[in-house]
């Protein structure tokens, strides 16, 4: 080979690098709230969420060499999300298959009032695949591209998934309101 090897900074990170730990903390700790929030919404339990974040940190440490420094939040969220799925697969496998592909069309009623508890409950009740895109979009304000990266779907799928998630969320909120009005 006539040219020298290109420099791959990440490899250096993996090998004995005393500042690696500090750099890792710099990348991960600022996004701890985002990591916890996602884990909390996906596991729906605070203790499980903490365990998942701890496990995700271990994984993140292991994969830190593959992190190319574009966006620590998206990178970490993807790991947290996968850790959540693995955790659910082990502990609550039924939830993974509760993907409601059956959606009723949203009724033409205006969302009048959504009190705090109802919205929270309605979000909690959404199937996992829809809950996660809503959390990433509405609470984490990720772009479609970032959501696609975290969830591992095509950008084109993000919008249709959000459309269905929002339609169902809206219906759930309305439904509860109607029930309680009776």
């Amino acid at each position: 080979m006539d040219r020298s090897l290109p420099v791959w900074p990440d490899v250096k990170v993996l090998v004995d690098d005393p500042s690696r730990q500090a750099r890792f903390e710099q990348v991960v700790l600022p996004h701890l709230n985002a990591a916890y929030n996602l884990a909390r919404w996906l596991t729906r339990n605070e203790h499980d969420a903490e365990d998942v974040v701890q496990e995700a940190t271990l994984r993140a440490l292991r994969f830190f060499g593959g992190f190319h420094g574009h966006d620590g939040r998206t990178w970490l969220l993807a790991i947290v999300r996968n850790t959540c799925y693995d955790w659910l697969r082990r502990n609550r496998p039924a939830e993974l298959h509760s993907a409601g592909d059956h959606v009723e069309t949203p009724e033409d009623t205006v969302l009048k009032r959504a009190d705090r508890l109802r919205l929270r409950e309605a979000l909690d009740a959404l199937p996992l695949a829809w809950r996660e895109v809503l959390i990433l979009r509405e609470l984490e304000q990720l772009s479609y591209k970032e959501i696609a990266d975290v969830v591992g779907i095509k950008i084109g799928t993000v919008m249709s998934r959000l459309a269905r998630a929002r339609a169902q969320l809206q219906q759930r909120v309305l439904h509860r309101n109607e029930e309680s009005a009776r």
Partner: protein
């Protein structure tokens, strides 16, 4: 735009994630369609309700302590260094292997590709067949090349096709397919390979442009753009996926 499409697209509109043309179409549709306009209003209300509520869970402070402890422990664990070194060896191997097996001419090809890309950006040189239709671009190459390049449509993923062009690289005529990512033009060069061995995607930089190349199914692929490496990688993956799922030969 019909109502069915609008009911999905209004979410892209709400999130400001659709291109200008779509944006204007939806705006027009919402002006004229009462049902969709109401649906949009409901979504705006739902969003403000979501944002008005305190739904965000902040990490408890003990979690930060736990995470810091995990990081510290990982540094102390005696085998952590060995694992890291092994991982580094694997990563290095993965990086070097494709380079070792890369034909020695690949440096020269990368230069060719960069020159062709820069030439294509000069006025009037971008396309011989300007079209966003894969079914227009693909047949255009018939009779001009000794192979028929697969042309994939990635407009749904935000990489619309701009057109096709004949070009010359690696000492032979090649197909150049032009895609766009917002304001960034991407040239995808395609030509048949004499070798059946596959080459994993390899990144390179020439004159400030990001390059990626890979070989699969007896075909060489080179992409080049001023687009950032991450999105160019995404583009390459999409091309690979699409070709793998629907070989257009």
């Amino acid at each position: 735009v019909n109502c069915d499409e609008a009911r999905t697209l209004l979410h892209g509109y709400l999130d400001d994630e659709i291109d200008l043309v779509r944006h204007l179409e939806i705006e027009e549709h919402l002006r004229t369609c009462e049902g969709c306009s109401r649906a949009y209003g409901e979504q705006v209300a739902l969003r403000s309700a979501l944002q008005a509520e305190d739904l965000y869970f902040k990490a408890p402070s003990r979690l930060e302590r736990r995470v810091r402890a995990v990081v510290r422990d990982s540094a102390r664990t005696p085998w952590a260094g060995a694992v890291a070194a092994a991982a580094a060896a694997v990563v290095l191997g993965m990086l070097i292997a494709p380079m070792l097996f890369r034909p020695s001419s690949s440096e020269r090809i990368a230069d060719d590709i960069a020159s062709a890309h820069i030439r294509s950006l000069m006025p009037g040189h971008l396309t011989d067949v300007p079209s966003s239709e894969q079914h227009t671009v693909k047949p255009w190459f018939a009779g001009k090349l000794d192979f028929s390049p697969a042309v994939v449509d990635l407009s749904g993923e935000g990489f619309p096709l701009v057109g096709g062009r004949l070009d010359y690289a690696a000492g032979r005529p090649v197909a150049a397919l032009v895609y766009r990512r917002q304001a960034h033009l991407i040239n995808l060069f395609v030509w048949p390979s004499s070798s059946t061995s596959e080459v994993a995607a390899t990144a390179d930089v020439r004159q400030g442009y990001n390059l990626l190349h890979w070989a699969r199914g007896q075909t060489n692929y080179w992409v080049i753009s001023d687009l950032n490496a991450a999105e160019l990688g995404q583009f390459a993956r999409l091309v690979q996926d699409r070709l793998a799922s629907a070989p257009a030969k």
